[in-house]
Every structure is written in structure tokens, then in C-alpha cells.
Symmetry: C2
Subunit: 180 residues, 2 copies
Amino acid sequence: MGRNSDAIRHVLEVITTRRTIRRFRDDPVSETVVQSLLKAAIHAPNAGNSQPWHFLVVRNPDVRRKLAEAALGQAFLATAPVVIVVCADLGRAMTAYGERGVSLYCLQDTAAATMNMLLAAHALGFGSSWVGAFDERMVSKVLSLPEFRRPVALVAIGKPAEGPGKPERLPIDKVSKVIE
Amino acid sequence: MGRNSDAIRHVLEVITTRRTIRRFRDDPVSETVVQSLLKAAIHAPNAGNSQPWHFLVVRNPDVRRKLAEAALGQAFLATAPVVIVVCADLGRAMTAYGERGVSLYCLQDTAAATMNMLLAAHALGFGSSWVGAFDERMVSKVLSLPEFRRPVALVAIGKPAEGPGKPERLPIDKVSKVIE
């Protein structure tokens, strides 16, 4: 409301200049930074404040290598200093909202949390990539996840060692319509 | 990288101070604002740049009333000047990624787009609420959606007429774990 034009510009700029980063420098990602990312994540809106999420912050190089294998060989996952595995908590989702909770809300809620995390990372000068293509059973096994936790995203985080351009988007009027 | 501390603070602040707003003032939401929200939305990361989304910007009061009915009587939807109906494009999702595209990626991609939209709205001084509880068939009928478009969120937008507190979140250490 009383937000000034600098704040508006900064927020819109972070949203539009974020890129998927797959090459990382060796610089460490401090625990303070990780806490900022998780704080951003848990501030995401979610169905009835059910908070159907769990985050595994993977620093261990062996585990990162196994995650990369589970992600169909996306080797860059092993080169990021930190991989945050975003899990949907199917138990909380089912208790709160039944089938729609499990098949829709908890996927949306964890995606919203992930989006917040990527924006916070970019604001803080870190790059990230959101990986969705992986073998869920392999990831669950590597991390010994209980059955009620479904891994839904692997997020690689680190200082960017590349500055890729924006993939071209369809123009807004091709993906929207106004109903007056 | 060279981002200054004001920019960082502004972004983290917008993420953590956003609230779900269900009471709106009558002030209009200009087309310029709507375009800013849609621009933020389409900058969300998405599987392989498939952009499996479509946004219906509903200004028409009759249609908003019918959406409120489809949303199990969440009447505030009819009182927001604009409701943006976020649809997943199942056709694009299926073509690009098959079953996993339809049941996971397009839900995550549209949720990430919605998150960006809510943050842009908050930065611009607008309130929003993300509604997921609705009868999808009723919404599809009201909007004459083709079968390949699945409505996944109704987003009410307007100038806030309330300033609710933050719903309490579980502490970060209850929803995360570090694997060293």
C-alpha cells in the first residue's frame, strides 16, 4: 500500500530476471542463506494452513551424486553445493482434504513454496534450478523417506557460474483472455 | 549478485508479509495492473518451457457470482473486482511430458505462476486470495472451457479492505532436516 516505487521495481525485477542455473561456482551456501530460503518457502500460501511440506537440505556429496542419478543423470545436481529436496506431506494433505488434498493442493502448496525459495535465492545472489524429472522411488530410497512423504522437486542452489538468457515466452495475449 | 541490500530486503519482505485477503475495497484494478500480474505469472519456471497455462481475467459481475457459487459459496469471490482463473493446459502438458506432465508438472507450473502473481499483486499494493476449493466441472461450464483446460485456481484480486495477521507456521526445524 504505502510501498514505494523502488520496492515495487525490485520485486518485479527479481521475478522477471530469475533464470534456471545449472552451472555453479564452488562458493559455499551458508546455513544463514539456507534458513532464509526455508523461511521464504514456509511463507507460501497453502490450503487451510495445513503446511503439507517437508524440506531436506542435502549437502552430502555422495547423496547429491545419488540424487543426480535418480534424476536421469542430470549431473549438475551433484555439482551444486546444496540440493533442497522438496517433499509433499501426503499424510497432512490427506487428513486435511482427502483425495483433492493429495492429488492437487499439496502439489500446489509445495510448488508455491518452491517458487518463493527460488525468488529468495535470486534476490540473495544465488542461482537455482527446479528439477522435476526424477525417479521418485529412487529418491525416496536414497533419502529413506517414509511413505507419506513424496519427493516433488529437487532444487539445486549455488552461486551461478553462467548467465543464461530467458527462454522465450508466448505473448501474454496468447495465454490469457479477458471476460468483461 | 551485485544486488543491493534494499532490493534483498524488499523481496524477502514482500514474500513474508503477503497475506490472504478476502475483503476488498471497490477500487478498480486497472488493465495495467492485470498485465503486470500476468507478466509475473508467465515468468515462472516451467517444465521444458512448455508453458502449460492459460489465464482468464474475469471482470464480469455475473460470471464472478457464478464462480463464487462453484467455489462452494465462497461469496468474497463475487466481491473482488477481478478474479483470475488459472487453468492448466493439459494438452500442452500431455504432448510435452505425458502422464507426469498432466498429473504433476502442469500443476506445479501453474502454482509457481500463481505464486508470482500473488507476490506481484502484493508489491503493487493489491490483496489476493488463492482459492482451490471449487467444483471444477461447474467452473468449466461457467467459462465454457475446452476439455483440455483444467481450472486449478481462482485468484481474487483487489485493494485490501482488511489486514489479517499471519497464520502461525510450524517452526522451520519441524519441517526440514539437513543431510550433511
